[in-house]
């Protein structure tokens, strides 16, 4: 069997409404952070994989080329990947494949998105177009609307309450307030979160992730050269992927993402572990209900039992299974193409004990990331592990 693949460095731009920075500037900021914090130089890179989810947010066609040039890596092979909001992990999986096949030794993955150049109404329309354009977009279903449909079904079936959903938002805002890379570093109270204005009921403002600008980068290499760049490579132990129907109406179930269940099963099998072996997770909380069903789809909790675990604060950094202790998409922010790469950067730092002390998970050696495109049309689950211990 060919050798494994490791992450040897990570970089991260500050997420937020970055008025003064364009797509290329954000990407450059993330890669600069990678170079500044790792023993890597440009000449070590064989190829780049660049993930940008949308073309409509800033009007730049072929965004990979502009980013590759901004990084001064023009001349090297590059490809662009797109899997909606799962673009970032699609990039990591593509780089993994390039290395695993023997084609390349070291591949830089950059995920970036510039979303705030257009109004939030326009951004809402752009994201609604990622619903079925022929049969569901014509009814005006927004992206929050798709997850609101799931929330209504989960509430009816399992008694999930407004308080459970808002408690997820409260947790994620709390951790974003401790994360210097986060978009909104402000805590919210349960009362504020429960009483916020409706966006797509049953979901309100504090159930919804942010429209953010941002970028993140990781360098992947084959294991045999990883130690050249760092004493502490993070090994990619498991990869799983799953999908579901384009139309929400055609889903077999409206209280779970079948694609996430399949992806988790594959990733656990490849890594040779179970949900109980995971020390922390970053899950795709584009909406609070998405975090709740992820807890169930990933096997951390049985169907219908995640809600009580949320109320018991089992997903805080010192709880049974810490989830999104970086603030999540909810409050760290959700620059679409950057999100999956940002999850990897966060897990790497957590495993190395390098995050802010108020949110550091003690002794974590294995982390999972769950990255969802649209409302489950793409799901990627990755399992990362410290390989030096």
């Amino acid at each position: 069997m060919s050798e494994g693949v490791s992450i040897v460095g990570g970089g991260h731009a500050v997420f937020g409404k970055r008025k003064e920075s364009g797509l290329r500037d954000l990407a450059h900021e993330a890669v600069r952070d990678l170079f500044n914090t790792t023993n890597v130089s440009k000449s070590d890179i064989d190829a780049t994989v660049i993930g940008v989810a949308g073309d409509g947010f800033n009007g730049q066609g072929s965004p990979a080329a502009v980013i590759n040039t901004e990084l001064g890596l023009h001349g090297l092979p590059t490809i662009r990947v797109e899997s909606a909001c799962a673009t970032g992990t699609a990039g990591i999986i593509s780089a993994y494949n390039m290395i695993k096949s023997g084609l390349r030794d070291a591949v830089l993955v950059v995920g970036a998105e510039k979303m705030t150049s257009i109004s939030s109404g326009e951004a809402t329309e752009l994201m609604a177009r990622a619903g079925d354009l022929r049969w569901e977009f014509p009814f005006g279903v927004s992206f929050p609307g798709y997850y609101a449909l799931i929330a209504s079904a989960h509430m009816a079936e399992y008694g999930t309450t407004r308080e459970i959903l808002s408690s997820i938002g409260v947790k994620n805002h709390y951790y974003a307030s401790k994360n210097k890379l986060a978009h909104i570093r402000k805590e919210v109270s349960l009362e504020e979160a429960m009483g916020a204005i409706d966006i797509a009921s049953p979901l309100n403002l504090y159930d919804c992730s942010l429209i953010s600008d941002g970028a993140a980068a990781v360098l992947l290499t084959k294991d045999s050269i990883a130690k050249k760049f760092t004493d502490t490579p993070i090994s990619i132990k498991g990869i799983g992927q799953g999908t579901d129907t384009m139309m929400m109406a055609q889903r077999e179930s409206l209280t779970e993402l079948k694609g996430a269940q399949r992806a988790a099963k594959e990733a656990y099998a490849m890594a040779g572990v179970t949900a109980a072996d995971i020390n922390l997770a970053t899950v795709h909380d584009c909406f609070t209900i998405a975090e709740l069903i992820a807890m169930e789809d990933l096997g951390f909790y049985k169907k219908g039992e995640a809600g009580q675990a949320v109320l018991d604060k089992q997903t805080y950094h010192d709880g049974k299974i810490p989830i999104n202790v970086d603030g999540g998409l909810k409050a760290k922010g959700h620059p679409l193409g950057a999100t999956g790469v940002s999850q990897a950067v966060e897990i790497r730092k957590q495993l190395l004990g390098e995050v802010e002390s108020e949110r550091q998970v003690d002794g974590a050696v294995r982390g999972l990331s769950h990255n969802v495109g649209q409302s489950g049309q793409f799901v990627n689950v990755l399992i990362y592990e410290r390989s030096d211990l």
């Binding site: 326009e122 329309e125 609604a128 049969w135 927004s142 449909l149 209504s152 409706d198 049953p202 109406a249």
Partner: protein, 136 residues
């Protein structure tokens, strides 16, 4: 006559969507069915997902039960002047679920409530269907 489907749309109009909208204009809800494997589709598909050759019309029953709902308050830009509006997914028969607006409903919808699919003319060329709550 030509007809378009839905409140708003972007896709240029393929024959199957035109025909579907024209049927709605005549108050008919017609999906299709694969003549080989009997798999049913609503809205219709140009061809069966299992790649069999021929399809035939399949008119659906128009009474369903609500499975999921949302009320869109902050709408996509091109629907902003219609917000807020309720959207529901209801099941007409096993395997056939339909997403549509529930225009008459602004109270909190109830999962399991009975709904009837009715044709709605949006403007001169635009047709869609909507869910109407059936009174007990």
């Amino acid at each position: 006559m030509s007809a378009k489907f839905g409140y708003v749309s972007e896709e240029s109009y393929p024959a199957i969507a035109k025909k579907f909208a024209m049927n709605i204009a005549k108050k008919k809800f017609i999906g299709n069915k694969c003549t080989t494997c009997d798999k049913k589709y609503f809205p219709p598909r140009t061809a069966c997902e299992d790649f069999h050759e021929t399809m035939e019309d399949y008119p659906v029953n128009n009474v369903g039960e609500l499975k999921a709902w949302t009320i869109i308050h902050f709408a996509p830009e091109n629907m902003a002047d219609r917000a807020p509006y309720a959207v529901g997914i209801a099941e007409l028969e096993p395997g056939i679920r339909v997403l549509a607006q529930i225009p008459s409903l602004m109270q909190k919808p109830k999962i399991g409530m009975k709904l009837e699919l009715q044709a709605q003319q949006v403007d001169a060329v635009r047709f869609t269907y909507k869910w109407v709550v059936i009174k007990d």
